[in-house]
């Protein structure tokens, strides 16, 4: 276990974290500001990945695939809000859970009808398939560095947008008191629709970035949904800053735990016990973390003000 390996694993954790943030950012706004429980957020990841993979396959250009998939996922979120979601705002949370769980099944089936049940072919763009030496003799895949860069850029953009712009101020006001905001002449319905579409779009971007790394197949976003729920609970529901910090923490804890915990256990227990308990314990780490945060900070690390 060398320091270069720890550095490399930290980059891996960072990359997992920013991907998680892209999914969680929209989810925390939808849950925190719109007070809407949206379980089909993983489907937005899948939709983004499929749009990008399909356009990349048709055009042969990865960047064109991403460029076209972004407005398409935004539009899909916009249309979904208009057709379905806006009718559910006044329902209680349990009904929202049922309806959006139904949407998961609907989207998985839709993708299966459209593209078949098999995973789509997708690979790295040739220009990003090389390696970057993060330290001498420590090559790191260029694409994954790119993912970290895009994730950080998105995080900065969301932060500046929410805290510095006029629309961002409306978003914060809408979260605080929707009736009063509406009375002041802000079209809260359009505002919610835009938040929802933007959230869908960021989740879609996560899917587009993951496409070349993982299997593009129906249901591919669902494992991310559970983790991003953990992220927004740790970070404080409704807080983008909290989601960012919590996503990085969860990414790092999950990655480093998975890699180093079995080795650490082997120092204490015999090999067979360590091999059995290590992976099991590592996969529980983030949930243990969530439980600890909930005990000491029930509203999360950075509760949204208001």
């Amino acid at each position: 276990m060398t320091s270069t390996l720890i550095l490399e694993q930290t980059f891996n954790g960072l990359q997992a974290g920013v991907t998680l943030f892209l999914v969680a950012a929209g989810l925390t706004l939808i849950l925190g500001i719109m007070d809407f429980v949206f379980l089909a957020h993983g489907a937005q990841v899948m939709i983004g990945a499929y749009f990008a993979a399909a356009i990349t396959a048709a055009s042969g250009n990865f960047y064109l695939g991403i460029l076209l998939a972004i407005p398409l996922t935004f539009a899909s979120g916009y249309v979904l809000e208009f057709l379905v979601i806006r009718h559910l705002y006044r329902r209680d949370h349990m009904e929202q859970v049922l309806a959006t769980f139904g949407l998961i099944l609907f989207f998985n089936e839709l993708i299966r009808i459209g593209f078949g049940p098999a995973a789509l072919y997708s690979d790295l763009p040739p220009s990003l398939s090389g390696f970057v030496e993060i330290l001498p003799d420590t090559p790191y895949p260029a694409y994954r560095l790119g993912v970290i860069g895009v994730g950080l850029a998105c995080a900065l953009a969301i932060h500046l947008f929410v805290s510095r712009t006029r629309i961002g101020a409306m978003v914060r006001a809408g979260a605080n008191n929707p009736e009063m905001t509406a009375a002041l002449g802000v079209n809260i319905r359009i505002l919610f629709r835009l938040i929802f579409a933007a959230g869908a779009c960021f989740a879609g971007v996560a899917g587009m970035l993951l496409g070349p790394l993982t299997a593009v197949q129906p249901g591919m976003g669902e494992p991310l949904l559970i983790l991003s729920l953990v992220v927004i609970i740790i970070g404080g529901i409704g807080s983008v800053r909290g989601a960012f910090i919590a996503a990085i923490i969860v990414g790092l804890v999950d990655t480093l735990g998975r890699v180093f915990l079995p080795g650490l256990l082997r120092l204490v227990f015999d090999q067979a016990t360590a091999d059995g308990a290590g992976p099991a314990l590592a996969s529980m780490l983030v949930y243990i973390l969530m439980a600890v945060v909930l005990i000491f900070r029930p509203t999360g690390l950075f509760p949204a003000k208001g």
Binding site: F101, D123, Q217, M220
Partner: protein
């Protein structure tokens, strides 16, 4: 959420018209939804193709197949098995991809005096102490394929290997089977999360360990993820990759060139040279546009076995069909299949390479026979 899924699973199970007296009814259980749905779809395609080849009759009787979607959930599988036996009154229950699901349906089916013919999973308890005379496997026992890989790597003079498999029963069975025949050094043994999609962290550790070879078991979508990320991380320069059940016709369309040259072992391959296999592969490709996987071949063989049992005994009676199947010599895509005393096949295991066919499609090709007539190591513990 679990309740809802169960209801959906029941609703998704497909039924076909009711049967009459001289109709043989088969309940075929597989996973048709979720990320493993592609495997079940291939198996369903193969079952339908087998029925087509037999003119809709098995052993001269009208045949009816009820497909049941187990959603990859043991509790759903158990409910479906009970429904197939008690309300659909099927003569044979067949299929089942996953070891944990097979364990769940084993008792309800075999104890109701119904034949259970497995198309894929082969957990060790069912081959040994918990075996039952009403169960037949048309695939293999879990340990055998990695045993062949271990034997090949041992014979090839490999000194050290790094092992990786998902953290569940089949993952552990696979690695213990491998170690039964590979006597070199185990440079590392890593258990990943079942269903894991990003292996970058494990691959970073592997690069640091720089083992001579790596042997993985990552079935289904996990195989796509693993092999993709292996190539993308440039690990080919660090270690030589071997695999079982991770590169096949299910994952190859998503991997294409990334999988070229990766060796694996298997008891079937699309290029096995016999009449039944040639017809199966050619017709499957013509109908569905891609190569069948070993899952599909075993599903096809399952229907051939039922056909053989009824044709030879002239009856769909459980006792009579069982007597025929226990004798072996079942015509399949793997030639005449022999049966061991625990009702698992005794068969060849081949070393397969991943190559391009004449049309440039990536597929697998037999390089050599690692084991001829290989029996599993649990049969001695099986007493009916």
């Amino acid at each position: 959420m679990k309740k809802a899924l169960t209801i959906v699973a029941l609703a998704a199970a497909i039924g076909i018209a009711p049967a009459h007296a001289d109709t043989v009814k088969i309940g075929y259980m597989t996973t048709l939804s979720g990320s493993a749905g592609i495997i079940g779809k291939q198996m369903q395609n193969a079952v339908e193709l087998a029925l087509e080849h037999k003119g809709g009759k098995l052993g001269g009787m009208d045949a009816e197949v009820i497909f049941a979607d187990d959603q990859r959930k043991p509790d759903v599988a158990k409910q479906l098995a009970n429904r197939l036996i008690k309300s659909d009154r099927v003569d044979v229950v067949a299929g089942v991809i996953w070891s944990n699901l097979l364990m769940a349906v084993m008792k309800p089916v075999t104890r109701s005096d119904t034949l259970l013919i497995g198309s894929n999973a082969g957990p060790s308890p069912i081959a040994g102490e918990q075996c039952h005379e009403n169960f037949f496997s048309m695939s293999w026992q879990n340990d055998q394929t990695p045993e062949a890989m271990g034997k090949h790597m041992q014979d090839a003079g490999v000194k050290s290997v790094y092992l990786m498999a998902p953290n569940y029963q089949a993952g552990k069975d696979m690695l213990s089977g491998f170690k039964r025949y590979f006597k070199g050094e185990i440079a590392g043994e890593v258990y990943t999360k079942l269903g894991q999609s990003d292996f970058q962290a494990e691959l970073s550790s592997l690069r640091a360990a720089a083992p001579e070879t790596t042997m993985v078991f990552q079935p289904g979508g996990m195989g796509i993820n693993f092999v993709k990320q292996w190539k993308q991380s440039g690990l080919d320069q660090v270690s030589k990759l071997y695999q079982v059940f991770s590169v096949d016709a299910v994952s190859l369309p998503a991997l294409k060139d990334a999988a070229l040259g990766i060796l694996g072992t298997q008891s079937w391959s699309p290029d096995l040279d016999n009449d039944i296999n040639r017809k199966f592969v050619a017709d499957y490709k013509a109908k569905h546009g891609n190569y069948p996987s070993f899952y599909a071949a075993q599903a096809y063989d399952t229907i051939l076995a039922i056909d053989h049992a009824i044709a030879t005994s002239g009856s769909k009676d459980t006792d009579q069909m069982r007597a025929v199947l226990a004798k072996g010599n079942i015509p399949t895509t793997r030639g005449l299949l022999k049966m061991n005393s625990n009702h698992f096949p005794v068969q060849n295991f081949y070393l397969r390479d991943t190559v391009k066919d004449a049309d440039g499609v990536v597929t697998t090709k037999v390089l050599s026979t690692v084991f001829a007539d290989h029996a599993d190591s649990y049969a001695a513990n099986c007493k009916f």
